[in-house]
Assembly symmetry: C2
Homo-oligomer: 146 residues x 2
DNA sequence: GCTTGACCTTGTAGCGACTATAACCTTCAT
DNA sequence: ATGAAGGTTATAGTCGCTACAAGGTCAAGC
């Protein structure tokens, strides 16, 4: 009732699917182009039509993306989830690798944070002339002393 | 003595500058194209030749990049550092904004980390059939209960 | 029946900060 | 004189979208 488009109970247009899954139509088409979603069925006029199954698949993809997984990892997980007999170990491995990467990025960002804090606190100057930040950024690393 | 190229004391080729600053030649050319570095002088044969001044400038850029600043911010800082009378406040602002962004990214990544830990611990299955990770990723959000 | 406007279609180009490739030229040591 | 290791340009690719242009379709109101 929000739109004039009539939504059948069991299939959606791309825009409806987009709203349902918090994606944008362009992104859904992009997923289709790149093989994350298989080509959708079409209406007589050529509109993509989606089933609840395809909605589930897109939800799956979006959850993976929210975990920061790349599309290649998502593809791998989709393939695994389609194969009920596949070893769960491979799923674990993907999640574990991602966790390691996230932790590494956190460590990197934390050292950045410390560096930026140091810079920020160090400067009470008025003009760039005396600015400790600019000075720090310009400082030639002391040449190895003799 | 490491290479066959003769390095004059006061100017470097692009490769020498690259080694000195931990950059790659392509990146230096990219900086020139996008206006971060002004066009280098050329040798008779068309090779770019750099002075220690230009090395300092590139070092400055690299330090900024290591702090995670975008090239636009670097451009702004370079402009400020060239103007000794400019108010230091603007430098502060750039650093402060970056610090805020870094902190936000850390928070985001930490919540990702927790989510991934939860997933990882939850699964001891053998096959995807019973895999709790796949299950969690596939779970339709519980429809609002009546 | 016609218009309006929101939707859909395709294709192409752009983002940031590089990286990769190709095809060619220069310098230096042997 | 040759070969390797530099340098030059231009162009396209990366990732995960996003923006735009030019058009076709659908439902509703008049």
């Amino acid at each position: 009732m929000k739109h004039h488009t009539t939504a059948a109970r069991d299939h959606f247009t791309i825009g409806q699917l987009a709203t349902l899954t918090g994606t944008k139509p362009v992104t859904i088409r992009y997923y289709e182009r790149t093989g994350l979603l298989s080509p959708a069925n079409r209406s007589a006029a050529g509109y993509r039509l989606y089933t609840p199954n395809e909605r589930d698949r897109l939800d799956f993809i979006r959850r993976c993306r929210r975990l920061g997984l790349g599309l290649d990892e998502v593809r791998a997980l989709l393939r695994l989830s389609d194969d009920r007999a596949a070893p769960c170990r491979q799923v674990d491995a993907i999640i574990h690798r991602q966790l390691e990467q996230v932790r590494e990025r956190i460590r990197d960002l934390q050292s950045l944070e410390r560096e930026l804090e140091r810079l920020e606190l160090g400067c009470q100057a008025e003009t760039v002339e005396a600015c400790k930040i600019i000075e720090a950024l310009s400082r030639r690393d002391e040449p190895t002393p003799v």
